[in-house]
């Protein structure tokens, strides 16, 4: 298992290089121009100068290799320096700069990451943690009132898009009831209990919208998997041995049901960073999803490129995580 994991980790490198190149070439083909947002009054020769300053005049492979060097070597060195406080770790020289903001892409990401992790990550966690018991219980009491109610909730979660549930929740809880703020305040820093309370209050609505979505999907999946296993012969064997229903459900059935479920949960994890674009826009949570959107509008190629490759890396990595978890849970799988 360890050698498998290491081999797969190692294989991630060429995979990601190919992905990065593909993304780079796609962006190359796209018609956007980073100068398009500048006022029309700026003369053409000045524009050319700006282009040259951004390194846009070089052939594509030079630009790709430059991006790669900045992405894989320079930026990590700065992050390492910031994390350890050892300034001399940071490599001198140009950084991976966003066209749009003129600040290093890494800094942008670090600014946006907390919101994304707090709001979107927490929703995924809440959704998943609620989905497991709900899915298990729904399956165990199939067609019971709890299950019927669960079907209703997840149908709602599935079929109502977040650009519908979001405004409805804002209307009811923020505007009519006035319980929660309408807009997420990114500048809020938690320093004491009252600001912590404010932070919690402004997080509740976006977390609720996103959790519902995750909850709906994962709980249905858990339910289906548990139901499938409850019908298996080994369940009857366990009962015939005199095992309690608790053991039958939470030991025998659960372990088997989790095999497909962990895969889905792990594969869904990267969507924490991409899948919440609409919700981030709705609640003005300027997380990473929102950064990607604005960068695309602004033809901010370095930022779009970097974010895309990071997403790709997450997807590839969580694929590996899913495979490893699968192998750990199912003894029939041997990666050798």
């Amino acid at each position: 298992m360890l050698t498998f994991t290491l081999r797969r980790l190692f294989l991630m490198v060429p995979t990601l290089l190919v992905i990065a190149l593909a993304i780079f070439l796609l962006l190359e083909l796209s018609p956007g121009d980073p100068m398009s947002q500048l006022p029309l009054s700026i003369p053409e020769d000045v524009r050319e100068g700006l282009r040259a300053a951004l390194g846009l005049g070089d052939p594509w492979y030079v630009r790709f290799l430059r991006w790669l060097y900045l992405f894989a070597v320079v930026e990590p060195s700065h992050m390492l320096a910031a994390a350890t406080g050892l300034d001399n770790l940071a490599i001198e020289g140009p950084r991976l700069i966003s066209f749009q903001t003129r600040s290093p892409v890494a800094d942008l990401i670090m600014q946006r990451l907390p919101q994304t992790l707090w709001v979107v990550g927490l929703s995924y966690l809440v959704g998943t943690l609620l989905a497991l018991p709900i899915g298990i219980y729904s399956a165990y009491r199939q067609y019971g009132w709890f299950d019927q109610f669960g079907v209703l909730i997840s149908m709602a979660g599935f079929s109502l898009p977040s650009f519908f549930t979001g405004p409805v929740l804002i209307l009811v809880f923020s505007i009519w009831l006035g319980w929660f703020p309408t807009v997420y305040d990114t500048m809020l820093t938690v320093s004491d209990w009252s600001s912590f309370w404010l932070q919690v209050r402004q997080m509740i609505l976006p977390v609720a919208v996103l959790s519902l979505l995750n909850l709906a999907q994962i709980s249905r999946f858990v339910r289906a998997s548990v139901l499938d296993n409850l019908g298996q012969d080994y369940v009857r064997t366990a009962r015939a041995k005199g095992m309690t229903e608790r053991v039958v459900l939470l030991v025998h059935v659960l372990r088997n049901s989790m095999i497909p479920v962990v895969t889905v949960i792990a594969l869904g994890f990267p969507t924490v960073f991409t899948g919440a674009i609409i919700t981030e826009q709705l609640f003005r949570v300027n997380g990473i999803g929102q950064l990607l959107i604005t960068s695309i509008y602004a033809s901010d190629v370095p930022t779009v490129m970097t974010l895309s490759v990071i997403f790709a890396a997450l997807v590839v990595f969580f694929n590996l995580v899913a495979d490893v978890l699968y192998g750990l849970l199912d003894p029939r799988i041997r990666y050798d």
Binding site: D233, R239, A240, K241, H252, R332
Partner: protein
């Protein structure tokens, strides 16, 4: 060594022993002992007449219905039988005749709803299992009644080791420590003839062959030394050589442990080989019952006779066409009021459509549920 001495030795061993690990070595000579005698016990002890007192396990008028979308299926209709320690009861019948539903009703293993146990008694040591609450019933499942299922490939949990699954009943029912249960699991694997049990105990079901898995299932059913072992087609999913091995193993274990065995099968050759008595089921009813020899020699119910005629026989003088019974067994949507075999019976008369035949004694221990039982000796034997 006389069987009596063996039995006492066995009893010592099979007490829930307080010293984990002690039992392992003294098992080997025991195994060899029975290997030697397994060939010599062709002659079965006759149990008829010995037990004047109440039988070990008694089923009276068991009624099970299944509520389905298309109506209520009467799957088990007034089934009665009894069995004593050391005895083997063979249960035969076509597919769909209610054998499995009957067996699972005994320890209420079927989901309710849709299954409803309408009536009857299942008496084990005088206690009615149908009246027990869930907790008491659980304490009994796997402890006093062991169950072996048909398909060993799916009946074991694929994600837990064989040892874990063997240890579960030991820990639950006998309150053994983890170590003690582990040691006993190794012993049990040795008992059912799995080579290198100390290593294999930590392996997963997929690492075992079909026959070996069925041995594991048997070990699991026997873990707590049950009084009754119910085997629902334990060899149907296995190929013929493995089948013979499992049958031999069961025989051996029964002579060693002395439990009562209910063996469900549709293979009449198997019944003939292992059973003391046979119960023939049709449409959820017992239509004939008797000692193996009497029933095979003189099947009195037309259905039994037809069933025996379908039996492929080794060394038959002329190559006879394999006869199948015409028609299908009925699915009863009401409690039977007439003979359920009527539509397929060559001897049916008016009374058969008007009155439900009840089980009536023919000769010693042989009874049949037919208005016009056949008296002549079967021509097929």
């Amino acid at each position: 060594m006389p069987p009596r001495g063996l039995a006492s030795e066995r009893n010592n061993h099979w007490l829930p022993h307080p010293y984990p690990g002690v039992g392992f070595t003294d098992l080997r000579p025991l195994l060899k002992e029975t290997d030697k005698m397994s060939n010599s016990h062709l002659e079965k002890p006759t149990t008829a007449g010995i037990h004047a007192s109440a039988p070990l396990f008694e089923v009276r008028d068991l009624e099970t219905v299944i509520h389905t979308r298309s109506g209520t299926v009467h799957a088990v209709n007034s089934v009665s039988f009894e069995i004593n320690a050391g005895e083997t009861l063979g249960v035969v019948g076509e597919s769909g005749s209610g054998k499995s539903v009957t067996m699972m009703s005994l320890i209420r293993l079927l989901a309710s709803p849709p299954v409803e146990l309408r009536g009857g008694q299942v008496l084990l040591g005088g206690e009615d299992l149908l009246k027990l609450d869930e907790g008491a019933l659980r304490d009994l499942r796997g402890k006093k009644v062991g169950f072996v299922f048909q398909d060993p490939m799916t009946s074991l949990n694929p994600v837990f080791t064989v040892g874990f699954q063997l240890m579960e009943p030991l820990r639950q029912h006998l309150g053994m420590s983890r170590r003690g249960a582990h040691d006993r699991a190794v012993e049990l694997l040795a008992l059912v003839g799995i080579p290198d049990p100390a290593r294999r105990v930590d392996e997963y079901p997929h690492q075992f062959s079909g026959g070996m898995r069925q041995r594991v299932m048997i070990a699991m059913a026997l873990a707590c030394d049950p009084a009754v072992l119910i085997a629902d087609e334990p060899t149907t999913a296995l190929d013929v050589t493995i089948q013979a091995q499992i049958i031999e193993l069961m025989r051996e274990l029964q002579s060693k442990l002395g439990m009562a065995v209910i063996w469900v099968t549709h293979d009449l050759n198997v019944v003939r080989e292992i059973a003391d008595r046979v119960l023939v089921m049709y449409a959820g009813q017992v239509i004939e019952h008797g000692p193996v020899d009497a029933l095979f020699a003189q099947p009195a119910h037309p259905y039994t006779r037809a069933l025996l005629a379908t039996m492929p026989r080794a060394g038959g003088a002329k190559q006879e066409r394999l006869r199948a019974i015409e028609g299908m067994p009925p699915i009863l949507t009401e409690a039977p009021q007439s003979c359920a075999f009527r539509a397929r019976c060559g001897h049916a008369r008016a009374r058969c459509a008007q009155e439900l035949p009840r089980r009536q004694p023919l000769s010693n221990g042989h009874d049949v549920a037919c208005h016009y039982p056949l008296r002549e000796v079967a021509e097929h034997v």
